[in-house]
């Protein structure tokens, strides 16, 4: 195969608008990129002048899919900037919320966005007919993770209980007991079934691999989601406040989303990157599943991000049960909502592992609590260059393995989908200057 | 008959006993304020409270209530089941019950509304005295704190005790079951209370004043502050206007027609096809609400449809006060 041109306009089953463009001329790969064509959204500029109480409300709208992550990261950045005290209870509940959001996002991706490829179906709709039990199970799992978000965050999309300092309303003991019961007696068995299913489909993932730099949060005592230092498989730990030295965002012409790089030409974030950094801290069942699926670091096949998501789903289920036990023993204490901040100038960085990778928010406030400067670095931006780099190796690999054009197209789509990119999120910024 | 009293600490025991036979509704704290709620734990009950957010009407005219059910396929209409569990309303202020009596008038005269009246069966009211706060003005509308009309039992607070008066046979029956909690009462008479929020003039003659005040400047003045959110209507014990809408449960043949609290402060309240609204100006609506209470609707004893609970003043974020407006008219 010497000449080839592939265009997948509006890649489906991803969040937001992206186009795959691959051009091969006389055996030379001249283009292999994910073009991001989503209209830019200018969030950082729009937030300017708003009060610290509004930061999370606005930044949440960067992305509805990742709104829990954006809000948590946003309030953490504000709390750092304005020196809030945050109770242990708040932190625990926020973790529970992050876990709930992670579950819901991973389940959505595994079953509704990625699975159709594994079953060679165009979407989940025919699967509802051919595999009704699986789909019912997936819906049940997704509902439960949404229920967790509803109970802790008020609602799943753009939660309405998170404010700097804590929660405006707390869950009741009965609700927490309910979650725990459902996790133990419904989620765990369903997750095991999902594992069996994925195992049986293992050969459907292309056996491609390309090692890159894997970046994820890391802490001493747990598989990091809520906070930690920034950890790289190449360079070790960096404190969160120095995140810019990691992300180094830059602009490319084919994308309304910025790209990022650290030590190599690109790096990866997300479930696989987290697993590569945190494997040792997996909870027992998750560890068992990881081992059974051969997911031991360094896993360098990007298609296996979906598998890493399942392992994480199991891990956060176990983790949630653990922290619920603690919460239920100590009991939920009423906290006074709406504690106004003591206003002063300040800058703060917040970072969280959201389903698709590390999310950073940084705000600078003036002495009246108004945003002077905001910066958000989003996982999909961090992955963008890595996706392009993967494609550059994947195309020759596919040619070497005699893929026809249709199969190539599908595999490219599968690659993009494997990253579960959130393109809506990635176009949040203002200062694009096109450079060639 | 020598009178009896119950010590405050014994109240939960008395409530427990009631719970064995009745659904008990009583005030409980909610944050900084109070709400009427079905009692689970008798310790929750508070008798020292100013006012609840919503009046008791929520039990008889719920915010959203199915009035007709139907089946799309079978083409038939059905009456919804209406529950009328035997219920004790415990710790009720007298203006609150006066509100219910006004609703009884609205739903029980003219065409009788069974959907409402059914729920008024099997009710027992146990009243309690209260200390008026900055918003109450019940006395000005003819409801002094010692008015016991409608109650089966009335509790009068004194020194950590409540004097227990059984006013009806139902009340006597309940009091007889409380005997082990009761002691002799050393207090007779009724507490003298002072209302801070008052009308310049008592309600007698107020109807004429309102009828003559159609073009008074106070309506326009007040309407400048009002953003027609409707809170004043919804929290009022005597406002009962409702809207009606139909809904079919997605993917089924089950339909329901419901009524939902409505507010005459909203422009669309009077709007008909063609876009004509009969109280188009905001001041038309402000005037209508207040006039309705004091001039347009009176019960059979010519008492106004305001019981002076002060909820509409307390809960108006724009600080519009019905007593201020009336004092401007008087």
């Amino acid at each position: 195969m010497n000449n080839l041109s592939i265009r997948v306009p509006y890649v489906t089953r991803v969040e937001g608008h992206g186009t795959i463009a691959v051009d091969l001329k006389e055996g030379k790969l001249i283009k292999s990129v994910l073009e991001i064509v989503e209209p830019p959204r200018y969030f950082e500029a729009m937030m300017k002048g708003y009060l610290y109480t509004d930061a999370a409300v606005i930044s949440s709208r960067i992305c509805g899919i990742c709104s829990v992550g954006h809000q948590i990261t946003s309030v953490k950045a504000t709390e750092k900037a304005l020196a809030f005290d945050v109770s242990d209870q708040t932190v625990t509940l926020r973790k529970l919320l992050v876990y709930g959001a992670t579950m819901q996002s991973h389940i959505l991706h595994i079953f509704f966005l990625a699975a159709p490829d594994l079953f060679s179906a165009p979407s989940v709709i025919p699967l509802a007919k051919t595999h009704p039990e699986t789909i019912k199970m997936a819906l049940r799992m997704k509902r439960l993770s949404n229920d967790i978000c509803d109970i802790i965050g008020g609602r799943t999309i753009h939660p309405n209980r998170l404010v700097p300092g804590g929660f405006t309303k707390l869950p009741t003991r009965e609700q927490l007991l309910w979650i725990k019961d459902k996790l133990e007696n419904q989620m765990v068995p369903d997750a095991k079934t999902s594992f069996e299913l994925l195992k049986s489909l293992a050969d459907k993932f292309p056996a491609f691999s390309r090692e890159t730099e894997y970046i994820g949060l890391k802490t001493d005592n747990e598989y990091a989601f809520y906070d930690g230092d920034v950890s790289s498989t190449d360079t070790g730990l960096t404190p969160e406040k120095d995140y810019l030295s990691i992300t180094n965002e830059f602009v490319v012409s084919h994308s309304t989303a910025k790209h990022a790089k650290h030590k190599r030409s690109s790096y990866a974030v997300g479930a696989l990157a987290r697993l590569n950094n945190n494997y040792g801290k997996l909870n027992p069942l998750a560890r068992e599943v990881a081992d059974a699926l051969g997911m031991k670091p360094i896993v360098a096949n990007p298609f296996l991000n979906t598998v890493a998501q399942l392992i994480e789903t199991i891990h956060v289920t176990e983790e949630s049960i653990k922290i619920l036990d603690t919460l239920l023993t100590t009991g939920i204490k009423a906290e006074r909502p709406f504690v106004p901040a003591k206003l002063h100038e300040g800058t703060g960085v917040g970072c969280t592992e959201v389903p698709r990778g590390i999310l950073f928010h940084e705000y600078t406030y003036d002495n009246r609590g108004r945003i002077v400067k905001a910066n958000c670095v989003i996982p999909t931006n961090q992955n963008a260059q890595n996706i392009d780099d993967d494609m550059r190796e994947l195309v020759p690999w596919m040619i070497a393995n005699n893929f026809d054009k249709d199969k190539m197209t599908l595999t490219l789509e599968m690659l993009v989908r494997a990253y579960d990119p959130c393109i809506s999120c990635s176009v949040h910024f203002l200062d694009v200057k096109y450079v060639e | 008959m020598s009178s009896k009293a119950i010590a405050r600490e014994k109240i939960p025991d008395a409530v427990s006993l009631l719970k064995a036979k009745y659904r008990v509704i009583a005030p409980v704290p909610k944050g900084k304020t109070f709400v009427f709620k079905k009692i689970g734990n008798p310790q929750e009950v508070v008798l020292d409270y100013n006012t609840t957010i919503l009046p008791l009407k929520k039990f008889f005219l719920p915010p959203d209530e199915v009035i007709v059910k139907y089946n799309l396929k079978k083409r038939e209409y059905q009456e919804p089941e209406i529950e009328s569990e035997p219920t004790v309303f415990f710790g009720i202020h007298n203006y609150e019950l006066q509100g219910i009596l006004r609703l009884d008038y609205a739903f029980g005269t003219g065409v009788k509304d069974a959907t409402y009246l059914k729920k008024r069966e099997n009710n027992i009211f146990i009243g309690v005295t209260y200390t008026p706060d900055d918003y109450h003005f019940a006395e000005s509308v003819g409801i002094p704190t010692d008015l016991k009309e409608g109650f089966d039992i009335f509790l009068t607070k004194y020194n950590g005790h409540y004097r227990v008066e059984a006013l009806t046979d139902k009340g006597k029956n309940i009091v007889s079951q409380w005997s082990e909690f009761l002691e002799d009462c050393s207090y007779d008479g009724d507490p003298v209370v002072h209302f801070k929020n008052k009308l310049k003039q008592s309600v007698a003659g107020i109807r004429e004043i309102f009828h003559g005040a159609y073009n008074h400047p106070v309506w326009k003045e007040t309407s400048k502050k009002c953003y027609s959110c409707g809170t004043c209507n919804l929290v009022c014990p005597t406002c009962y206007c409702f809207d009606v809408s139909d809904e079919v449960v997605l993917g089924t043949d089950q339909g329901a027609r419901s009524r939902r609290w409505d507010s005459c402060q909203i422009l669309g309240f009077t709007e008909v096809a063609g876009g004509e609204a009969f109280r188009e100006k905001r001041y038309d609506r402000v005037r209508h609400r207040m006039s309705r209470k004091f001039a347009y609707i009176m019960d059979d004893r010519d008492r106004p449809f305001c019981v002076g609970c002060g909820r509409c003043i307390r809960q108006c974020t724009a600080d519009i006060s019905i007593t201020d407006v009336m004092n401007a008219l008087l």
Binding site: - | E76, R120, V244, R257, R292, Y296
Partner: protein, 276 residues
Amino acid sequence: MEAKNIYVPEVADIIRIERMTELETFYDIKLPGGRDLGHEPGQFVEVSVFGIGEAPISVSSSHLKKGSFEMVVRSVGNVTQAMQKLKAGDKLGIRGPFGHGFKTKDFEGKDIVIIAGGIGLVPLRSLINTIIDPAERKKYGRVIILYGSKTKEEFLFRNELETWESRNDIEYHVTVDRKTSGWNGNVGVITTLIPDLKLDLHNTIAAVCGPPIMYKFVILSLRSKGLKDNQLYVSLERKMKCGVGKCGHCQINNIYVCQEGPVFNYAYIEDLKEAI
């Protein structure tokens, strides 16, 4: 306190349906067993369409008509649009009749002027068909019908209009706001028909129904002719959600239109600031 649910409609059959104009549709409705509705002219019913909702609609036929009753509905919104799509044989929910209509007993021996603007003819037709019924006609004096419509295309009950015009015991005058091709009659709003009327001022009553803005002008005009307030009857439209004096929407100052109206003697509501 025994009472029954007043909101549950009775299921009735549409036995005939006919499109009258682009917006208005005629319905002939049969109650279970062909029972009479038992209304007086000017009263209304609450009509339910399954799954959609309920709307107050005037009865357009005379109570003298047996076995079924008639309505004409203008399609303006939810219920009325859905009604337009129904067919003969379909079912509707009916509650009523409600309110107070025209007390024809009081009209006996008198000259009657009927002034109908647009769809206002619909409720007035029940009055007209009562007093012009051959068996009843002699109970009343002159019958004068003034009818105004936007254009001739919007005329309702065209066959009946022709009959009224041709009967010499009815004085029928019609006008349109706007002339369209083929119209040779009066052009102008309905009030332009009033000055030419020769009336026996002591023995005439007038019945008026039309769009909200019409009343003010018609009443002014009738008064300036010398009719007294208590000789005027108006049928008023208000928003209504229950039909039984509870929901509050139709309230004009201290009266409920669905209870005391929709037909009022003008002297009774003259002082109500929000009535006209």
